[in-house]
């Protein structure tokens, strides 16, 4: 299968392991059987190939998301909504002090094209970076086919609410079987009885059943929209493959089961809290933290975002406090 490589993407011929190597600005990326190696003018880094691909998959699918996507404690991206920083060691105290950190800014579409090319070339047929470890095969070994269907899944994003007209529709057995860990989630539908002429406005659906059929983990997708207030629920199993650094306050509502969050200072990585969330728990995550979640069993998490484009600047300049409420 030919890979869809953008002309701006700088990719080598396959290396000894069958994988292309990629150059983006002064960054160089290569992989072998087990690892991904990242090099920049003042340093270099190594990551497990499966952890790298799981992180890369989120970064690409979320279009760099809100704020910072740390692949680990060293490498990641900062979204400036139009341009994106690719960094190494920028949010790591030791790298900063050693002056080994490095940041380059790219047009979003250019870095996205390179990341998509890397993800497509480095994901073998046996591996789905969006799936939980129990649900997918190995990411390791020499180049062995590809899984383009998995790495180019369409991003689900409702405009008003799931099930509304011209909007995201309900999931069915044909395309989205119930996940093995949600086999006991009731699949009943609400009674919806519109009067004639009001069919497109009298709408309700079973969100929990919808989530029980999600085929991906750690992938917030919009289900309801109240101006800039977005409900972005997601189903979580194992570990969030990135460490998310906030550029605004975000909120979590635990809908089912349990997630443990390790919360660190966004800029230094110093530990701040552990947040344990059980069904019905609600917590805000300050605008100056980074966090990584651990879900022992597949869990339903409602991520609640404020998509107001003015927010990052207001927090960055201190015009808004980093926490949402004073009491």
């Amino acid at each position: 299968m030919t890979l869809l490589m953008d002309t701006d993407v700088i990719a080598s011929e396959p290396n000894a392991h069958g994988y292309a190597e990629f150059t983006l600005g002064e960054f160089h990326f290569r992989r072998d059987e087990y690892f991904v190696y990242v090099k920049w003018p003042t340093g270099s880094h190594v990551m497990s190939a499966d952890a790298f691909l799981r992180a890369m998959q989120r970064d690409v699918a979320w279009n760099f998301f809100y704020g910072i996507v740390n692949f680990d404690g060293v490498v990641g991206t900062v979204n400036h909504y139009g341009t994106v920083d690719l960094f190494a060691g920028r949010y790591n105290d030791a790298y900063r002090k050693a002056e080994m950190d490095h940041v380059e800014n790219f047009q979003s579409e250019n870095i996205k094209a390179t990341f998509e090319g890397m993800l497509a070339d480095w994901t073998n047929a046996s591996f789905d970076p969006f799936a939980s470890p129990e649900e997918t095969g190995s990411a390791f070994g020499d180049k062995n086919g590809s899984n383009l269907a998995a790495v180019t899944r369409r991003r689900v994003a409702s405009r008003r609410m799931v099930s509304c007209d011209d909007d995201e529709q309900l999931r069915t057995d044909a395309t989205h079987p119930i996940n093995r860990m949600f086999a006991d989630v009731p699949q009943d539908s609400p009674s919806v009885e519109p009067e004639p002429g009001f069919e497109s406005e009298v709408k309700a659906y079973n969100l929990f059943a919808y989530l029980s059929r999600s085929d991906v983990t750690w992938n917030p997708s919009v289900v309801s929209v109240c101006k800039d207030s977005l409900y972005c629920p997601t189903t979580e199993e194992y570990i969030l493959p990135i460490i998310h650094g906030n550029d605004r306050v975000e909120w979590f509502v635990q809908l089912s089961d349990e997630i443990i969050w390790a919360v660190e200072d966004r800029d230094t990585g110093a530990a701040r809290t552990r947040v344990v969330m059980k069904p019905g728990d609600v917590a805000s995550m300050p605008a100056n933290i980074r966090h990584q979640g651990y879900a022992p069993k597949r869990a339903m998490l409602l991520v609640w975002e404020n998509a107001d484009g003015a927010l990052p600047e207001l927090y960055a300049t201190g015009k808004l406090p980093s926490h949402p409420v004073d009491f």
Binding site: R160, M161, C164, M181, F182, A183, D184, V185, P186, D188, P190, S191, E193, P194, E195, F198, E201, K203, A204, Y205, N206, L207, F208, A209, S224, C226, K227, D228, S229, Y231, V249, W251, V253, L255, S256, E258, V263, A270, A271, R272, T273, R274, V276, M277, K278, P279, G280, D281, V282, A283, S284, P286, K297, W304, N306, D308, H323, P324, V325, F327
Partner: protein, 166 residues
């Protein structure tokens, strides 16, 4: 194949997690529990459990009939426990909330506009409360709603009572 049990909370059975502090102030995490809030609320009090600028999440104990409310923008009601009936009417022009009204406000009388329909929602079901509609909730037994909306005149703030402070 292993059997998994999915755990949801309810008014009768909920267990709170919490913030374990290493080097921070728990108040920055605004940590509460929807069922705990609803268990200590009077029927249809709109208690904020989340706030992001003007946007709020309200935990609502549904029990008996609510008053009729009207809204100028979409709101979304997610049933977290129990069963809730929602009746919807189109607002007549003179019932529309004043320009710039956010969140929902009381209608104060039976709706004059045409009936739009009815929804009966149980746990996990999300209902659209469309802009320019009047709505009323009814719950035979205590139930819990989470409302996605904008702060309004009737939003209640009880952070000091509902949140972990140390």
């Amino acid at each position: 194949m292993p059997t998994y049990v999915t755990r949801f909370g309810s008014l009768d059975q909920y267990e709170k997690g919490g913030v374990e502090i290493i080097d921070d102030d728990p108040k920055r995490y605004t940590f509460s529990n929807i069922f705990d809030v609803a268990a200590h609320s009077r029927p249809y009090e709109k208690v904020a459990v989340g706030k992001n600028r003007q946007y709020v999440l309200e935990a609502i104990r549904a029990e008996g009939d609510s008053d009729w409310r009207r809204t100028a923008h979409d709101e979304f009601a997610l049933v977290m426990d129990g069963e809730v009936e929602v009746i919807l009417h189109r607002l007549s022009p003179d019932e529309e909330p004043p320009e710039g009204t956010q969140g929902s406000i009381q209608l104060g009388h039976e709706p004059a506009g045409p009936r739009m329909g009815r929804v009966v929602a149980r746990r996990g079901h999300m209902t659209l409360l469309p802009a320019h509609a009047a709505y009323r909730f009814r719950a035979e037994k205590p139930a819990v709603l989470l409302l996605q909306t904008i702060e309004g005149a009737d939003t209640l703030y009880r952070w000091g009572e509902i949140c972990q402070t140390h």
